[in-house]
Symmetry: C2
Subunit: 186 residues, 2 copies
C-alpha cells in the first residue's frame, strides 16, 4: 500500500519522552494483540522493539510471520504450544527463565520498547518472582517503554505502571461454539 509521507506536526516534535510501564490484563481478547499493534507502531517510528513471548509457542502465528518484515523487531519465543495446552511445567519454567534473561539483555541493550507477552501468566505460575521483574523494570533506562500482558496482572505490577487496561470479555466466539480463526486469533 501507499501512504502519504509523514508531515510531522510541530506539536508532536520535541515532546517529553517518558518510558511507560504498561499492563494489558483482564480475561478478554486483545491483550497480546494490542501489544503487537504497539510493536509495529513503534517499529514504524523507527524504534527498536524486543518481544519476549512467555508460554505461547505456536510457530504458525500470523504475527510471527508479520514480524519477519521488521528488522526493528526481535522476537524471543520463551514457550511452547498454546497457553491453554501447556504440558510440561518444568520445561516451561526453564523457557521462562531463559525469556527473563532475554528481557535483561534487551534492557542492557537499551531498546525502545520491550514487550513481555503473557508475563503475568508466567508470574502466576511461579516461574520467576515478581520482585525480580519489578527490580529489573525499575532499573531500566528512563525512556524505555515496557508492556506486560496477561490476565491476572499482580497488584504491585499495576501499582508500578503508568497505564493499565483491562480487556473485559463482553462476548466471545468460543461461547458460541466457534473455533479459533486463522489470522484472527493466531
Amino acid at each position: 500500500m501507499t501512504v502519504p509521507r509523514p508531515t510531522p506536526k510541530k506539536n508532536l516534535e520535541n515532546r517529553e519522552r517518558v518510558g511507560l510501564l504498561m499492563v494489558h490484563t483482564g480475561d478478554g481478547k486483545g491483550k497480546s494483540t494490542a501489544g503487537f499493534g504497539m510493536a509495529i507502531r513503534a517499529a514504524g517510528q523507527g524504534m527498536r522493539v524486543v518481544i519476549v513471548q512467555f508460554l505461547k509457542g505456536n510457530r504458525d502465528a500470523g504475527e510471527l510471520h508479520a514480524f519477519e518484515r521488521f528488522p526493528e523487531i526481535t522476537v524471543h519465543r520463551a514457550g511452547e504450544g498454546f497457553t491453554w495446552e501447556v504440558r510440561d511445567d518444568a520445561r516451561q519454567a526453564e523457557l521462562a527463565a531463559w525469556g527473563m534473561d532475554r528481557a535483561r539483555d534487551a534492557i542492557a541493550d537499551g531498546v525502545d520498547l520491550l514487550i513481555l507477552d503473557e508475563v503475568n501468566i508466567a508470574l502466576a505460575k511461579g516461574f520467576f518472582p515478581l520482585t525480580d521483574l519489578l527490580a529489573i523494570l525499575a532499573d531500566r533506562p528512563a525512556g524505555m517503554h515496557v508492556c506486560c500482558t496477561g490476565r491476572n496482572a499482580p497488584g504491585p505490577l499495576m501499582d508500578a505502571a503508568q497505564l493499565v487496561t483491562e480487556m473485559r470479555p463482553v462476548k466471545h466466539p468460543w461461547d458460541q461454539g466457534i473455533v479459533a480463526q486463522r489470522g484472527i486469533e493466531f
Copy 2:
C-alpha cells in the same frame, strides 16, 4: 528477525472458517491498537486486509509507516487530525461517507478482514446511520471477518457481533500528566 518456518499443526488445518464480527469498545487504550495487531496477524497468514480509519488522520502515525511493508494491507484514511481535535464536522461527515464507500468496495472485493477503525465514533456523530452499517455487514461474504472499533459501540452492533471486548481504563498516563508518546500512542 528470523523466525522458524511455520510447521502447521493438523488441528489448525481444515478448521471451519467463520467470518467474525468483532467489536473493540470501552474508554481504555488498545481498541485500535488491537485492531492493527489483528491486521498484521492476518496479513502474516497471507490474508487480504482493508482498514478504513474514520476521523483519525494523523499522517505520522507509526502504524501507517508499518503498514507500508504489507502489500496485503490497504489503508483508507477517512479522517483528518486526531479524534480529539476534529474541527470541521461537515468535512468529517464527507470523509466518513467516503470511508463507508471504501468499506462497501472491500466487501464487494471479498477481502479477508475489514477493520472499521473508530466507526463507532462516526456512528455516534451521525455521519451515517447504524442501520446502513448493519445492512452492509449482514450482506458480506460468509467468511469475511470485520472488526469495528471505538468507544460507545451501539447496542445493536454488539448484538450482531460474535466477539465484543471492552477496553476498560484502569490507569491512564494522561491522568498523570504524561503526554502521548511517539511509537506508543501514535
